[in-house]
């Protein structure tokens, strides 16, 4: 519980601050663009659907690569840490999805005020599940690289497979290669696929990091 | 502070004995605690404790439960008696050997000792 509390209090605040900064930046860019041409897309959707998942991925990497060894060095077991980190992933993805939603609300207000064109964005659930899967895949890849060195590169295609479908339900996040028509097939059943991807990535992380040696680092 | 060549507890014990002999530590006077000794000389407290243990066994010190270690009443006399036993073997004989080795006649040595006696000791 101590680890979970520390992760949420320290990292959640940091991520919220990053999100707020990104929102302010997107807004500024939108206003600058509006001076030259008409605004046709949601800048905040670019942030939430494209950039945010990589940010969540990076947080996942940070949690395993940087924080797990520190936890062990402070007398915590990997099991305790992974449990806390899994819970933290859910809370973080939830928090970021809520912030994304809040951003859309504010942005929607500003766009209608300025009479700009707002394009479609996904549901909060879709963002939540995308963030969830990306963060878990970040943890999975970090665990693989930390444990197996260069051989960890095999985790990358696996990670790609796991996250490829998470963006299906989100407009503006890019289309799938080869199979562009598939998204329409299942409708909201895609959410289930994201949940499975999240669980699979977490299980992979657990399997790899469960008895991973912590190397003594030198600075 | 301590040489690293013989057990430190023995060096500490010897030092306390020397203090008792010279009168720096008097009968029934409290000696420093193990921990004080350890911090002062930067040594492991167990080593200091071992020295005290040895001195208690030799009846140089006695323990007052919960208070500390004290110099026993007979410590000085006892150490002096022990010193006298070994004095000739450990101090005089090697000195004589050294004097002969470097060519000082024993008569000179004796004269020097007599000078000390006439000056009233040292």
């Amino acid at each position: 519980m101590k680890i979970f509390r520390h992760l949420t209090t320290s990292l959640l605040l940091f991520c919220a601050m990053v999100a707020a900064g990104a929102f302010a930046f997107a807004l500024v860019v939108t206003f600058v663009v509006s001076a030259f041409r008409s605004v046709e897309i949601s800048a905040w959707n670019v942030v939430t659907s494209q950039i945010a998942r990589w940010f969540l991925f990076a947080i996942g990497v940070y949690v395993i690569h940087n924080l797990l060894p520190i936890a062990v060095a402070h007398g915590r077991t990997r099991r305790e840490f992974l449990l806390a980190a899994s819970g933290f992933t859910v809370v973080l993805a939830l928090g970021m999805a809520l912030l994304g939603w809040l951003g859309f609300l504010v942005e929607g207000g500003i766009y209608s005020l300025m009479d700009w064109n707002v394009d479609a964005h996904g549901s909060p659930v879709a963002y939540f599940l995308m963030f969830l899967a990306w963060c878990a895949v970040g943890m999975f890849c970090a665990a693989a690289f930390d444990r197996f060195g260069a051989v960890g590169v095999f985790s990358v295609p696996i990670g790609l497979v796991l996250v490829v479908t998470t963006t299906v339900a989100i407009p503006g996040s890019g289309t799938l290669p080869f199979i562009r028509d598939i998204p329409a097939l299942f409708g909201s059943s895609w959410h289930l696929v994201s949940v499975v991807a999240f669980v699979a990535a977490l299980a992979g992380t657990w399997a790899i990091a469960r008895d991973m040696p912590v190397r003594l680092r030198t600075m | 502070m301590f040489d690293d060549r013989s057990p430190i507890y023995r060096q500490i014990a010897d030092r306390i004995k020397a203090d008792v002999l010279s009168g720096a530590l008097k009968a029934d006077e409290q000696v420093m605690s193990t921990n004080q000794y350890a911090s002062y000389y930067r040594i492991n407290p167990a080593t200091a404790a071992k020295a005290f243990q040895q001195l208690v066994e030799e009846q140089v010190l006695y323990k007052k439960r919960g208070i500390g270690m004290f110099v026993s009443a007979q410590a000085r006399d006892m150490l002096r008696a022990q010193g006298r036993e070994t004095f000739f073997g450990e101090v005089v004989d090697p000195m004589v050997a050294e004097a002969l080795a470097i060519g000082i006649p024993l008569a000179d040595v004796i004269r020097r000792i007599e000078q000390h006696e006439n000056n009233g000791g040292v």
């Binding site: 101590k2 680890i3 509390r5 520390h6 320290s10 940087n66 060894p69 520190i70 936890a71 062990v72 060095a73 402070h74 007398g75 915590r76 077991t77 990997r78 099991r79 305790e80 469960r210 008895d211 040696p213 912590v214 190397r215 003594l216 680092r217 030198t218 600075m219 | 502070m1 301590f2 040489d3 690293d4 060549r5 013989s6 057990p7 430190i8 507890y9 921990n35 350890a38 911090s39 000389y41 930067r42 040594i43 492991n44 407290p45 167990a46 080593t47 071992k50």
Partner: protein, 291 residues
């Protein structure tokens, strides 16, 4: 805290760092772990701290340490600051980890030590000098108040006054809060008087485990006529020899009995004590060959 190591082996690929090592420590002492570079000190400590899954067994107070929350809680291993923080973390942040993740952490004491070593709270761990990083490691190690605290080369890069401040802090805190402390070092001369028990390891094997004061009385330097020295030391454990003309000095390991002392006197041999440092050098000397 009692430590039992049974048949511990640590391998990195083809390299065997710890080779089937077994020993027990009764605990609540300051132990010195002595060994040359690459002798396996750090690997041994990592296994004791649950950093890696041991082949063989490592038990703390009878509990296997690896992935055992109850045992892990009691352990702290510090090698400078590196494991307990990130380069980019500020010193204040580094201490927060300790406060947040350790039940036994004493934050007031940590701040006192930070002050003693003159470490800036706002400095990033990666920007501290080597000596200060080591000092920060000592802060983490001591303030964790772990029943088993291991300091791996904790004095690295410290200047002399800082090292003495470290020794004093260590000794003082050990007396206030007795616990098992293991220090690995090559600075034997300086640390020797702080140690109660010594473990010497070499090439992943335990060479000896002995009370420091007993060890000090174990080595004897025998000096005299070369032929006489050879006669006297025949059948004894000779760790090293050096000759000057017809004079020879041999370092003998093991207590000498009365008969041997008499014989030495008859032969006109001089018997002198040896320093812990010399004993260590000879016990781990790969070219000595006379173990």
């Amino acid at each position: 805290m009692r430590i039992d190591v049974q048949g511990l082996t640590v391998r990195y690929g083809d390299v065997t760092a710890i080779d089937d090592m077994s020993f027990s420590l009764s605990g609540n002492k300051i132990y010195g772990l002595l060994g040359r570079n690459g002798s396996g000190k750090t690997s041994l400590m990592s296994a004791l701290a649950g950093y890696r899954k041991p082949s063989g067994s490592v038990q703390l107070d009878g509990l296997p340490v690896f992935e055992n929350a109850a045992a892990m809680r009691q352990v702290c291993l510090v090698r400078h600051t590196a494991d307990a923080a990130d380069k980019g973390d500020k010193v204040s942040h580094v201490l927060e980890y300790g406060a947040a993740w350790r039940d036994t952490w004493d934050n007031d004491y940590a701040l006192e030590l930070i002050d003693l070593f003159g470490i800036g709270m706002g400095t990033k761990a990666g920007e501290l000098s080597l000596g200060q990083r080591s000092a920060l490691g000592v802060v983490i190690g001591l303030a964790s108040r772990s029943p088993l605290t291991m300091l791996d080369e904790a004095h690295l890069g410290m200047d002399t006054p800082t090292r003495y401040a470290f020794y004093d802090a260590l000794l003082h805190d050990f007396m206030e809060h007795p616990r098992t402390i293991i220090i690995s070092t090559h600075l034997i001369e300086e640390l020797a008087s702080l140690l109660e028990e010594v473990l010497i390891i070499d090439s992943g094997r335990l060479v000896l485990q002995e009370e420091a004061d007993v060890l000090r009385s174990r080595g004897t330097e025998v000096t005299g006529n070369a032929a006489d020295v050879d006669e006297f030391t025949a059948g004894l454990t000779v760790l090293g020899e050096k000759s000057l003309g017809r004079t020879k000095a041999a370092m003998v390991y093991g207590a000498l009995d009365d008969e041997q002392l008499v014989r030495a006197r008859q032969l006109g041999l001089e018997l002198g004590p040896t320093a812990l440092q010399d004993l260590f050098v000879h016990l781990t000397d790969p070219v000595g060959g006379k173990r």
